[in-house]
Symmetry: C3
Subunit: 233 residues, 3 copies
């Protein structure tokens, strides 16, 4: 952080002050909670026991940030220093354990919160990576990894093809890429503040909601051979 | 380690002296060996070649400790600085390569040693994480991760659902959670010494043996939908 | 690096000067590019969308080096500090996205380049690990991990058994083990220079080509039970 020019450093300080720790922390916990719900629900679908539900909730919620922290050298990672980060997924796991039919029924609500988590994590991840001295492209990439990494680990542990990579799912990464890129551009043009950060979060959130509403998909490779397996929707 | 109060630091020193390096090291190698056997046996079942057997032995034996060391910032990890840690799994792989029907036949013996490895690793992992300055909850979590992480990596590389997470397997993580928690409580109440450490190892070991003997299982989520796939035992 | 004897340190310096940064960097980018092609091709076969193709290209190309850098404590890893490392896989992904039937048709050419990448990565990985103070065995192991790690991550993300571990694939790791070991022995006997490094690269490359040409396989465990699943070639 010290190596940065004072103007950009000032930006980062401003955002840190405006997003006071308690506000930022609360938003983090919200994102962690909703991601944990998605992990716990997959664990129930895979017929895991209560311990497996807790593990998948923890991994989904904290995996992306853990990867980011290992890459930027922020050890021990936040996932292991903040008790709230650790306990929140357990709460989500308990909730799903006892009430999962009810939670499944409000899947739409879960998805909306998940979209909010996506926005919060990609912005927070990009900002933190930049604070640790990474370049703009690397910071945006790590912001994306923070937002989607937990879900990839969740699917790998559940022995499924990561839904992030499948063509037959609504756009998930692209909204996060847009959000991370917005933060990187704001840093580049010296315009990162509470308002622009919030704008990046909201843009990611809205794009994800639109992708779900209108089933936006990303294209697959051109000229696919007819032997390619078509996955039914 | 320096940041800890002198009393707790004294505890850690005492255990380090009583468990002299050679004793601790020997116990570590025993744990590594039995974990490597379980990895090599799965590799044979998956029809891997001799190289695949060696890789799965190494990953199963060292994966949990490697993860812990990356998280606490102990780089290079012990897996890469201690030649014995690296060579022991190769020995186990060779043994299974040439004698796997015999090793399979003594599966019960392997399971008993594996239970011992579980106890040793969760206690050693919790203690090491605490020495590196992590909190009690984080230390216990990393102790658990040290004990079960290698097995999870083994199953992911073999493209199987981690047996740790499946409901139709006898309790495996819960004994390790009990052992890690005992160590953390001993540290908290200033009672960590050779005796209490050994007690935590033995408790984990016995709980795992009982879980195997009586097929203890953890509960799955309440109100599972009838469509959930029931896995036959 | 500082802790090494001056003679070995001198060796490392010599190789660093002879392989001038631009030559080394160009070779790195070539290796990254061909590994990325293999990741992108698998993504197309798995029917991933354009984003999945890019992710698998990045992971395949950079995963091995990323693992090495995390283990030796070189954070942030080269994958996140060198823009060329990040952009090259995207280029490969685009190429495969638009032209994958043509790329598949030159599969032999891709395989030859991949063999070259294998040689380059295992030599560069071993050298870098040694520079960061690891022992000779650990350095050779990390050289191997640098060369094959990306492919393993690629297969795990694609939810397949890593082709590295399957007995029904031509030798892949063994050439890299030979190359890494050659580098380690050269360091040990104070003979690492441009010529011996190039020799290790070429040896790995040729062994891999021969393994593909003559379908060399590694043996599986002795006395396999007849129930073992025989995978048809």
């Amino acid at each position: 952080m010290e190596g940065r020019g004072s103007v950009l450093g000032e930006n980062v300080r401003v955002i840190q002050e405006l997003f006071t720790p308690s506000v930022q922390h609360t938003l983090d916990l919200v994102g962690i909670f909703v991601f944990a719900i998605s992990g716990a629900l997959l664990a129930v679908r895979k017929n895991f026991d209560v311990f497996g539900i807790a593990v998948l909730a923890e991994v989904t919620a904290l995996g992306g940030g853990l990867f980011r922290d290992l890459v930027i050298g922020a050890v021990p990672p936040a996932a292991f220093t903040d008790l709230g980060y650790f306990l929140t997924p357990l709460l989500a796991a308990l909730l799903v354990f006892f009430l999962h039919p009810e939670v499944e029924r409000i899947q739409l609500g879960v998805n909306i919160f998940d979209a909010a988590g996506l926005g919060l994590f990609c912005v927070a991840g990009t900002t933190k990576a930049y604070e640790y001295g990474l370049g703009l492209t690397a910071s945006a990439t790590l912001g994306l990894a923070t937002a989607v990494g937990g879900g990839v680990l969740r699917d790998v542990l559940a022995n499924e093809v990561p839904s992030l990579l499948r063509w037959d799912r609504d756009l998930y990464a692209v909204p996060a890429i847009v959000g991370s890129t917005m933060v990187a551009l704001c840093i580049r043009y010296d315009a990162l503040n509470t308002f622009t950060s919030a704008l990046a979060v909201v843009t990611t959130f809205m794009l994800r909601l639109l992708a779900m509403r209108y089933h936006w998909r990303a294209p697959r490779a051109w000229h696919r051979r007819s032997t390619a397996v078509e996955v039914a929707e």
